[in-house]
Symmetry: C2
Subunit: 475 residues, 2 copies
């Protein structure tokens, strides 16, 4: 197996090599940007979905699924929204040999699929809040270069859509979503930035957009997801009204919360290293790989101990893989490190006789666990591994976001930058030009690495209404 | 709430009324035949999927996901297959405003999406068997009347695709699939027919097709799924070859196994009754509903006991719903019976004081369980309910498949018929004409209700090579 490119100096090449070598995707499918979820990649995705489902359902959201195809006339109802997607939707124009009377759009997101139905579901204030989510694939006709998980044409997507009685309740739901994402990111071991996008960069049709980003190599950033407050922007064109307790008819205020397979790309990008992928335990396709070490004189001990250990861990609910193939142990270690498995159990004659096993985690830390407390020992090691991974990511994050005081500072940024911004569009654009990227927005939550808040706008120098903002170069 | 139509005399009306009244689907979405999975329906679907995943993975299959869009040229490679689907696929012809160079088909099934990639995955006999499955939505431009779950244009679909070293191993995989389906159907409490379809009715491109059907009202039948042996019919056009141990290059033999949301329709159709839906415990969105009964003098006892019971059952892994609303108990009983919940716990003052709860199952059988063994008591009642439901379905099945000895017998069939068939196409078509339906095929597994095997062909009268076959009127 060829060595991986250097993550520090050739980040994209490294990323592409890792997702391929770790068998996470197969991009040889004959439509560009539509990739195959391999067995290994699908396991990671299933675990990712499970974390999202657990956290969103804990906040009172229920799963639904709306059709993938949206009639052209429904799609066109909210003008800003349609403008935002017009150039990147796939059109279904024929059924069999018959041209369709009304062409259909393959959903790029589901506002326009859901809201005509929400208008029928919501009648009274007793029907509110309506908090539903779906995990489906969405489709975008990408014209930019595609990248596995990060920019694809068929996207594995999570979207929550809610209807609330008024603007304040919708604001509350936005807050609840930020909390749910915080708990998800804890499981992914990912520190991130939470910013409110500038008006010129908000989602098509939104009143405002709060987005989650991570810093990547250099000043690059990657958006992980977003939460939108729609006010009545959609409920008016789609007629989603309810009868209030006083008998009046009112429009609901809406919110949405979107995440995607890009999270998997972010997990690989942030945690991966020179040896390959590194998965936090919640996402790892296998949490543990068990490797029996067979010497010429080892007898059946190691294999039997390895099988028994695998079986016990499986019964304890662990995702565990026994690698009893006839390769040498070094080749197995190499493969499972490349695949990012958090823990490796090594079981040779010594371990089989000594009734304990050697555990090596994906960060290279070694220890032993007595077989009679295997389940607890593995659980503790996994928790410890997640903590160490989170800490490593936090340290890297701290080096990736640095303050800038003057526009000139931004020119050759090799990190994402914290800047002061007065909020004017003109200053915003000056910042974007200086960094040759984007003003991601004003900080909505504290940085994971506390930095002193800027007191002046980096562009015009005023201290009036200055906010901490983030500038970078979005991928 | 209006009464349901009579299941016996107005079966379709009854079915449509139940799926709507039990909130399983919303068919008001503005594309005909594309329905919304409501929160309640989605819960049933998720449970259905879990049963399929459990049983197929127990036979060594792993999940993957291939793209939803298939390039026209790949779609056209296997001639029989494309002929079978040509009139019912949706075509994607534009991305944004740009006509696509190669039009894309929305997958009606995934042979033509997967097999170009299988050709790259399979190199050596060591890569075999390749057993993978996916649960995705498929699309068919249905021109017949659509029915929720039973005939829709966006179909929630399970499909296993395998590659085997030779015909015998593929035959073995077909057997394994029949076993997996038997275990699934046990969870669904559904008796069914397993037949080998006549050649003129096999799947487009298959060597042979084995299908699962259930009898419905009258002589009607509903296909639940199918297993296909492809031999080399697809591996040749798609070039899926491997190097055998002797160094020769050989084509793989392939099989597929398909199931769909139609299973949910079948569960509703078979188990439902005059009070609404009836779900086997494995599929029920809620296994248990807890109803506190509040009298004027009942105090907080019932509500507290109900909350505690709900909490305990939830911690024991049960899907449980507390209905503490202020309607009268009768209205709640009515609603949850309509929704098919297997068990209802009634907790009034007497129950709260007596430290036991009343349990009524969806078949109307009543009992009590002491609170100190609530979890075990509920588990036993659910198992008992499933057994009773299975028995009830088996009894109904026995009345739905009856023998016929002469063609004239078939004319006004009010049940599905067991007939003798010599295997000739001519006799087959005579049978189809006589019953004004289809010859489903020859029995591949014994009937759930043992019937004497016919000794002569019902059409030509010969006893040479006569097989037991099933005739009916497929929906």
């Amino acid at each position: 197996m060829a060595e991986l490119p250097d993550k520090g100096t050739a980040f994209i090449d490294w990323y592409l090599a890792v997702v391929e070598a770790a068998d996470l995707t197969d991009k040889r499918y004959p439509v560009k940007g539509m990739n195959v979820w391999t067995t290994y990649g699908f396991r990671a995705r299933r675990n990712l979905d499970a974390v999202m489902v657990r956290e969103i359902e804990a906040t009172g959201s229920e799963a639904v699924e709306f059709p993938a195809l949206i009639p052209a006339n429904e799609f066109a109802k909210e003008k800003e929204h349609i403008k935002g997607f017009d150039n990147e939707v796939y059109w279904v124009t024929k059924g069999g040999a018959t041209p369709l009377d009304v062409p259909l759009v393959l959903r790029p997101t589901s506002e326009t699929a859901m809201y005509p139905v929400f208008a029928m579901w919501v009648r009274s204030h007793r029907d509110l809040p309506l908090n539903v989510y779906q995990i489906v694939n969405t489709f975008r006709y990408e014209t930019k270069t595609t990248r596995p998980f990060v920019r694809v044409r068929e996207i594995h997507f999570f979207e929550e859509h809610t209807c609330q009685v008024d603007e304040d309740h919708a604001t509350e739901r936005v807050r609840s979503n930020l909390g749910a994402f915080r708990r998800m990111a804890e499981a992914f071991c990912l520190p991130y930035l939470t910013t409110r996008r500038p008006d010129w960069d908000k989602f098509a049709g939104a009143h405002y957009t709060i987005a989650f980003d991570i810093p990547l190599a250099g000043a690059r950033t990657l958006q992980l997801g977003s939460v939108h407050h729609y006010r009545e922007n959609f409920s008016r064109p789609y007629g989603i009204t309810y009868e209030a307790p006083d008998g009046s008819q009112r429009h609901v205020h809406q919110t949405t919360f979107g995440l995607s397979e890009r999270l998997l790309g972010a997990i690989v990008a942030v945690h991966g290293d020179a040896k390959g992928a590194v998965f936090p335990s919640a996402i790892a396709p296998y949490e543990v790989v068990v490797v029996p070490i067979l010497g010429t004189d080892s007898g059946p001990g190691p294999i039997q101990t390895a099988e028994a250990a695998t079986d016990r861990l499986r019964r304890a609910g662990r995702r565990v893989r026994l690698d009893a193939g006839d390769e040498r142990p070094g080749a197995k270690y190499y493969r499972w490190e490349l695949h990012g498995v958090p823990l490796r159990l090594e079981i040779g004659r010594r371990e089989a006789e000594g009734r304990s096993v050697t555990i090596v985690d994906r960060l290279g830390r070694k220890g032993t666990v007595p077989l009679d407390r295997l389940e607890t020992g593995v659980a503790e090691r996994l928790a410890d591994f997640d903590r160490a991974l989170r800490e490593r990511a936090r340290t890297a994050f701290a080096g990736s976001v640095t303050p800038a005081r003057v526009l000139d500072d931004l020119k050759d940024s090799v990190t994402v930058r914290l800047v002061g911004w007065c909020g004017s569009e003109e200053c915003g654009h000056q910042i974007e030009t200086a960094i040759d990227g984007a003003l991601l927005g004003t900080l909505e939550e504290a940085l994971p690495n506390p930095l002193e808040a800027p007191t002046r706008c980096i562009a015009c120098g005023t201290s009036d209404g200055v906010r901490s903002a983030i500038a970078g170069r979005p991928m």
